[in-house]
């Protein structure tokens, strides 16, 4: 359930503390960031039905992938 994707905060909408423009591969859309605190341009957030549900922890994301790349054995051991 609950389709959601990581998108990047491109800009915060002037005169609103709740709206931001986000992008993914050249696609831009205005969304609400009212559910999360301290959004910065450049942050990645998890977007669901027009709302950011959480921030994406980029360091964690990077670490996870690297860990997996290292951990998993080559296909034929």
């Amino acid at each position: 359930m609950c389709l959601a994707i990581p998108v990047k905060i491109e800009s915060l909408v002037d005169g609103s503390d709740e709206m931001a423009v986000v992008s993914i591969d050249g696609i831009r859309r205005e969304i609400s960031v009212a559910l999360i605190d301290d959004v910065q341009v450049g942050d990645y957030v998890i977007l669901h039905t027009g709302y950011a549900l959480s921030k994406l922890d980029e360091a964690e994301a990077q670490a996870t992938i690297e860990l997996m790349q290292q951990e998993h054995s080559p296909l034929i051991r």
Binding site: C2, L3, I24, I27, R29
Partner: protein
Amino acid sequence: MPRDAYSAPLNIENGKIELIHGGGGRAMEQLIDQLFKAEFIKAGVAGNDGTGEGPSHDATLVTPPPGQLAVSTDSHVITPLFFPGGNIGSLAVHGTVNDLAMGGAKPLWLSAGFILEEGFPLKELQTIVRSMAAAAKEAEVKIITGDTKVVEKGKGDGVYINTCGIGHVINQSKIGPQYIQPGDKILISGFLGDHGVAVMSQRENLGFESEILSDSQSLNGLVAEMLEAVPQVHCLRDPTRGGLANTLNELVQSARCDVLLQEATIPLRPAVNGACEFLGLDPLYVANEGKLIAICSAEDADKLLQVMHNHPKGESAAIIGEFVAEKSGDNFQGYLEMETPYGGKRLLDWLNGEQLPRIC
């Protein structure tokens, strides 16, 4: 009718379509003469080759070359009417030109039936008609007959355009789903989903910004080169409504032979992927208006791909799968299967109604 009989000038800048424009009187003649005919004549796509009769007569006379003709029609209804990369006018030409080309025919003539909604701005109509004219010019077809109806406000959606096309079948090729053979290769002429995503990006309730342009374009030039190089192409089809998946499902049923696609080979733009992730859509079901699927024998596939790559409208062409080598027997169900990049497989089913953006 004489020009000076129009005492109310057609106010293209600020005027709107009124019921009178479809009433069959002077105002309608004026609209046809000063907008439709004027633009089609300016672009050199009006009337037929000899008699000079335009769209307003009951019937237009043409003399076809000897041999078979292909005939195809589509009504074009699209929201919004204007989208990045085109509008309903260019689309109405491309849609029918392409259906003729998919029949292995060189498109010659189009009819154009307009259903206009009361209140539609003449300026926008002019833009649409100009796009039709330009598209017809590019595709080298003439618009030989037409019709204008006006419906009351609230009984239309601005503009609906029906086109019906007549084409001349090129060297009697046998092109159609019935000629598909087990083992045939499936080629696609370029990136998928551009049209559908460009249109959806403009819908008020979904609205997003992107640089994606509709791929709406005529394919008859590309088809002519393909057929010249490989006259024995088995089938051509443009994956419009329902996209690649639906069109191939139709072919699976017509050919009574299953298909296996390779997902990794299907050309998709990152932005189209991104938009589909936004909306919960599968790009393989999204409409295209300037792409074709070609099916040919395995031996011909590379040559055909080469020809496509050499044409600007096929430079991103790819071989994306094949009709499986064995036809199923009596118990044929018809499966369109796809191998994912991970090595697993899944079916691509028929589109279940309109693609609706999903939350889950």
